[in-house]
Symmetry: C2
Subunit: 375 residues, 2 copies
């Protein structure tokens, strides 16, 4: 990244830190062999994976042998939802909050094509606990998926309250922590959890899942208990663990600083005409913010910001081709034309925020001028 | 790898070359962003992936836009078999040769649980073309899977002859080239193809698939046309392409040299008592060899070799826990107790082979002595 650019789109990807890159290189040197074979080269690779698993398990407060690497968070959802659903024979429904990420919803729809119960959320994106309660009380729910925090609007769910309800009903809870781990302390209440190294400054192309000892699952695929058929890349696993340790060491400092930046941006953009700032202003991720333009397309805004040297995300997703209104925004009742999503990585400075807030009003005015759309 | 060790287990994993490591590092510096977003950082990452795809496509003689990265070859088989099967509604069977790899067989069994037709092979592992012919003539075959070359015994299938049969019957052919690409020229006859970067000295944690323009598939999963849901790791894609280019540049030289080593080993071990050397001695991969002991367990042999500084594979698989007789060995009618599989990477020298052949007879004698099992 050129020093002159400001990167404010660190949700699901961020520049790796020096320590993480060093770990990746050490992994390439010492962990290139297939960790599943029996000779010394493989044992060395296996030891690195085991060490990475232990380091991550400690931060998740999970048992190392129940922490697994997958080839992506998407794949983690596929295997987890498929495997846990299969173990709950006799129960057909899967309850998912309306703000779960696509990968979680897809996995649920694949496992239970006609039995996905979507749970409404309030204006901040908190899942409706009464709806959860009445759904799981119905006796047909095999699994529930309620995320830890939302990747678009930043809202942190009341994880303990959610779990109290699912646990009392005997329904296993899968918690999507792909947007939160590495930014805030791990959630405490889950039967299975998914996390995403690239979101915490680790490498892409790898996912993490964790199970509790009591959590039952059956292999949906004949590979058996292998969560990453074909194997994981050992250097990626090692770099993931080192990046997470580094984040955990600096959680509190970064969270305070980045949260302050987000507060500043929230306050500033709330003053603009036709802009809605969404998500829980308090119970939220420290580094994520989405604001929505009622009468303005997102794409020209993002492109102009990009040309001005500032990278931001579109609220809706990870896709160049999905500038359609976001499902999350619809779920919270935000009527929106275009969104800007910010994700601040620890390298973002006060000066970056100054520059963004200095440049933004002019760019909005330009886009409005181009559109002739100022109402 | 310590210089004093001899690594002869390069099937599915091998030390990466300097050029491939450099490419990985360049990818970390310039390709850390999510390639699917719209700002400059993402476009840079996307350009690297596109370049990698083009480089690989050229070597596969495929169209770049029909070459896709996946998170592993296993995942490539899952998506390909599932998606192509779904597009062949009205046809229920999947024909697989008896020597396909587990990932291919699993994918077939998952898509068509009760309709997998296993095609016999001859003593060298060549698929029975008459059996293929009569199976696809039956009119119920949705897909056929016949590999390019076998990862255990090295036998190269008569790919053009196989394709002539499937194509005439209108049955799409998926060719597993995970053991051959990077070692010999790519097969010419396929409707879909799977390849494995880690097998050609690229990184682990990534797979490659290619389709022909006429090949039909439907998304088995709701993600649509995304072959790697969650995205691929850009540095891995880049390093995969560079490693393959390097291999392609040196194909002929390496193949001749390594094939000579294999011939030497074949001739030497064929002299031992109670040893069967398997696979086609001529139409074979240049770098792979399996030999089987009729009255000797594989595990103590592998362990003793390892302690003596030589890493070899077990014939049966990639797994520490699968020393049971190999399915491939059973299919070719090799009655076997323990196997040794060799995979030679380009860094292997004549001196390494000298050392292996010098040490092997003594180790066999020791294991026989321990077992008291010399018949």
């Amino acid at each position: 990244m050129s020093v002159s650019r400001v990167f404010l789109d660190a949700s699901g990807s961020a520049p790796m830190s020096r320590r993480a890159i060093d770990a990746l290189q050490a992994g390439i040197a010492d962990g290139w062999a297939d960790p599943a074979r029996i000779h010394a080269e493989s044992r060395k690779a296996r030891a690195l994976v085991d060490g990475a698993r232990e380091a991550i398990a400690e931060i998740l407060d999970a048992r190392p042998e129940l922490v697994h690497f997958t080839t992506s968070p998407h794949h983690a959802f596929e295997r987890l939802v498929g495997g846990m659903y299969k173990a709950r024979r006799g129960f057909e429904g899967i309850a998912v909050s309306a703000v779960e990420r696509d990968a979680a919803v897809y996995a649920a729809a694949f496992a239970a094509p006609h039995a996905v119960d979507v749970l409404p959320v309030n204006e901040y994106g908190h899942v409706d606990l009464d709806a959860l309660q009445s759904t799981v009380a119905g006796g047909h729910t095999a699994l529930a998926l309620v995320q830890h925090a939302n990747q678009e609007i930043g809202t942190i769910q009341y994880n303990d309250d959610v779990y109290a309800i699912t646990h009392a009903a005997g329904v296993p809870l899968i918690v999507d922590a792909t947007a939160s781990i590495g930014h805030i302390p791990a959630p405490g209440s889950w039967d299975a959890l998914v996390a995403h190294p690239a979101d915490w400054g680790g490498p892409g192309g790898i996912g993490v899942l964790a199970l509790r000892a009591h959590t039952r699952w059956l292999p949906a695929w004949p590979e058996g208990d292998d969560w990453a058929p074909g194997g994981v890349n050992v250097p990626l696993a090692l770099a993931s663990a080192v990046a997470l340790q580094e984040r955990a060491d600096t959680h509190a400092d970064n969270a305070d600083r980045l949260s302050g930046y987000i507060d500043r941006i929230r306050a500033a953009v709330a003053q603009y005409e036709g802009v809605a700032v969404v998500g829980d202003p308090v119970q939220r991720l420290p580094h994520v913010l989405t604001f929505a333009f009622l009468y303005l397309d997102g794409e020209p805004l993002l492109s102009r910001l990009d040309r001005a040297g500032i990278a931001v995300g579109s609220g809706s997703a990870c896709k160049t081709n999905s500038l359609e209104p976001s499902r999350v925004m619809e779920a919270i009742g935000a009527l929106t034309h275009g969104n800007v999503r910010l994700g601040l990585h620890p390298g973002v400075t006060e000066a970056d925020i100054d520059r963004f807030l200095e440049i933004l009003p002019g760019i909005i005015a330009d886009v409005r001028g181009d559109m002739g759309a100022h109402p």
